[in-house]
């Protein structure tokens, strides 16, 4: 592979970059029209067609708050521009490991889930984190204080 130099521009890279930008802009416009705020930087959603019950269930389509899931002929379709990676479809799904969502926060933490149980556990984790932050807000010196009064290590 030849190394890139400033004069040598990779056209394919540029094309894909501009494509990504255009997609992002389209997405932002669509979501702004719907009055929706995004909490995640990136994400991915997929549906396993082998485990999906299809026309007999359709619960995820009813649950989706932004109408990102719709009924294609014969299967559930996803319009990824509208999906904001919430957990409504996974919570409503009857089967495990059907809808899989991975999402990335702006601070870099990645969250992955495909079962209703995982969603509940994840939410409890998020809440616990927030409570701890809240407590630390009130006690800015608590950590420093604990460090000062740590039990001293005994030598030997």
């Amino acid at each position: 592979m030849p190394q890139e130099s400033p004069s040598n521009v990779d056209i394919f890279n540029l094309l894909s970059d501009s494509g990504k930008k255009a997609k992002k802009q389209q997405r932002e416009e669509l979501l702004a029209a719907a009055g929706v705020k995004e909490f995640f930087a990136e994400g991915n959603i997929s549906i396993d067609k082998r485990t999906c019950w299809g026309i007999e269930c359709k619960l995820c389509i009813k649950a989706c708050p932004t109408n990102a899931l719709y009924w294609k002929t014969g299967e559930v379709g996803i319009s990824e521009d509208l999906c904001v990676y919430c957990s409504a479809c996974v919570l409503s799904c009857m089967v495990n490991d059907c809808i899989k969502i991975t999402r990335k926060r702006e601070d870099g933490t990645v969250e992955k889930f495909s079962k209703p149980k995982d969603v509940i556990a994840l939410e409890a984790k998020i809440n616990a984190k927030k409570r701890l932050e809240r407590v630390k807000e009130v006690f800015p010196t608590a950590e420093a204080y604990c460090e000062r009064y740590k039990p001293r290590k005994s030598n030997g």
Binding site: C64, P65, C86, S87, K130, F139, T141
Partner: protein, 205 residues
Amino acid sequence: MSPAKFESRKFVSVDPSKCTGCGICEYACSTEKEESRGNPICSRIRVIRMTPFFNFALACRACEDAPCVKACPEKALAQAEKTGIIMVKDKQCKGCDWCVQACPHGGIMIHSDTGKAVACDLCNGEPQCVEFCPEEALELVSSDDEADKKFNATLEKLPAETERLANIAKNKEWNSLLADAEKRGIKVNEKLEALRKKASSKKQK
């Protein structure tokens, strides 16, 4: 100071110097709210155990401009006019977790069985967690400042408390600590038994 939006706004707050982190409030909440079982996973109030000196119990604060209500895409959340309690319309709630992401206190959560959002509703004005708290650390408070005052008061008590404990450890006078623990244990046992009676009477109904 801007005028208060809700006339009789109230929420459950904790005095961290009194709270021992026993978690009875969690059990009291879940036995009151759940029909079948007393599982603290479904509790609206949660305990945080930080150090021996400060423990917390946090619940929904009924904020003046509640971010969870703003974030809800289905308009399933609403605030009561006078008290500011957050009410969930079960038919419209679909279990997307946007209220959970938006809440700054971690006060709203999604129920593990039904998949709908739940928040503290003060049990019709008589919170069971306040009633069952063995140390009387939980209280109904009407403003954020009032809650923060107690938090700040415990910060001032901390140095004296640590010194007392350090002295006990130095002189190895464990008896006073043990007597304290015994007193607390008796109180906790009383409250636990009352809870058990309540749960069994509920089952018979």
